[in-house]
Amino acid sequence: MNVPEDLKYADTHEWIRVEDGVGTVGITDHAQAELSDIVFVELPQVGVEFAARNAVAVVESVKAASDIYTPVSGEIVEVNSALEGEPGLLNTAPYEGGWLFKIRLSDPGELDALLSAEAYREQLSQ
């Protein structure tokens, strides 16, 4: 499983990359492989605020719908609208073209509670 070193991870299988106080969030390679065949993505509305660990998006495979949680609190500032026409990007490029949304962090301290790549890898191996 691909677990890039430079990202932070939630135990619910989301990743976040933070630049200038804005986090880009997606699902991990492990999550996309578990879901497989993603055919629909429901994204949050820009401008809405969420608390960490709230369900903000839904990713649906042929067989099941799965909630996606935001790893941090903040306001949604952008969503990846390319996924509406091409949800399969979540399977083929989970860390690149398959990102889900960008969120302006209201409490950057929350990042400390997330997993490092190493810790997430350990969780996967259990």
Partner: protein
């Protein structure tokens, strides 16, 4: 403890993702439901259906006894022929849907749903008649379904003879020194067959067809394939509270038979009108995938919920089934299906969803 079929280790080796299905650990998919679905529509796939139940019924009175408990007419079967049929409760509701195969003059094979083996066996056992021997052989038989346009070629390769042209047939063959049943039935809408074999050789049957090129397919693809054909799934589209007439299965109900359990209710429904009809619903406008138990709305009122639903890999949009008031179940009727608090338009269409050439 969940049960495992004789093919369990093969599923793990092939990368199968195992889930609980009716108390059985079964593969829901190997690599991809979409690819497995496509393999069956375009080439050939193989499914483990060993979880399904097998009953043997023998004796001079077998046909008459089965005819008193099942909706279709067993007496019309020639030797080597099969028919889809339903077993009803006293209210005319569905206990199970099954296939009856006439193996010999007075010997029948019944293949029933995995989730209903015990209930069916108890019901049949509780209605036993003179001159009939009933045996639940579910634990001694495994089974595979080989389905797809190339299934016929694979059969010829493995069995060194052509598959019978006709649907709904049963043959007795020898495989690896054991007697096995080859039946030309299936649950996908494709050409193909199923092999019912003793547990000891079902692994060799699986290997022979996988080596010949059949792609292992899981329950996920089995569900999307059957739903595209509007084949009902018991426990979802069929229930003890709905009759086969409401489910649109009147073709498999012979009301001219003298009697069978549930007949009176069906006759009354036929005279007085059906309380509901199982409709095929196409969701062609962009929507989230439609799944079972989503509310169905007609004219601003919730009338029922979907009994089945999935994104159709062949059609590229969601398809579903659900019971509607008969006045709103006509082809062309528009309804709405609710997903996470939002409603999406759906249209009642003619069954099946997938029209074959």
């Amino acid at each position: 403890m969940p049960k495992r079929t004789p093919l369990y280790d093969r599923h793990l080796t092939a990368g199968g993702r195992v889930i609980d299905f009716a108390g059985w650990e079964m593969p829901v998919q190997y690599s991809s439901i979409l690819e497995e679905h496509r393999a069956v529509r375009e080439a050939v796939g193989i499914f483990d259906i060993s979880h399904m139940g097998e009953f043997l019924v023998r004796g001079e009175g077998a046909a008459a006894w089965l005819d008193s408990l099942l909706t279709n007419r067993v007496a019309s079967l020639g030797i080597g022929e099969a028919q889809y049929t339903l077993m009803l409760n006293e209210k005319g509701g569905v206990i199970d849907d099954l296939i009856v195969y006439r193996i010999e003059e007075t010997s029948y094979l019944l293949v029933v749903n995995a989730a209903k083996i015990e209930e069916d066996a108890a019901w049949l056992g509780g209605h036993l008649a003179e001159g009939v021997v009933f045996e639940d052989r579910s634990d001694t038989f495994g089974a595979v379904a080989v389905q797809g346009p190339k299934a016929r070629a694979l059969f010829a390769e493995v069995f060194n003879e052509p598959l019978p042209e006709a649907r709904n047939r049963i043959l007795t063959k020898e495989f690896a020194g054991e007697e096995v049943f080859v039946v030309t039935t299936g649950y996908t809408g494709e050409d193909g067959f199923e092999v019912v074999a003793p547990n000891a050789v079902i692994g060799a049957v699986w290997d022979a067809f996988v080596n010949a090129g059949a792609r292992p397919c899981g329950l996920g693809a089995r569900d999307t394939l059957r739903l595209e054909m509007c084949y009902p799934l018991n426990g979802s589209d069929l229930s003890p509270d709905r009759t086969p007439l409401e489910a649109g299965l009147g073709f498999f109900v012979d009301l001219s038979k003298e009697d069978f359990v549930g007949k009176g209710v069906l006759v009354a429904q036929k005279e007085n009108g059906l309380p509901s009809r199982l409709a095929a619903l196409a969701i062609t406008e962009k929507s989230p995938p439609i799944r079972p138990h989503y509310p169905i709305w007609v004219n601003g009122e919730q009338v029922s919920e979907t009994t089945s639903g999935a994104p159709s890999p062949s059609l590229g949009h969601s398809i579903a089934m659900g019971y509607l008031p008969p006045g709103h179940a006509k082809v062309g009727q528009t309804v709405e299906i609710e997903v996470r608090g939002k409603r999406y338009p759906a249209t009642v269409v003619k069954k099946p969803f997938l029209k074959r050439a």
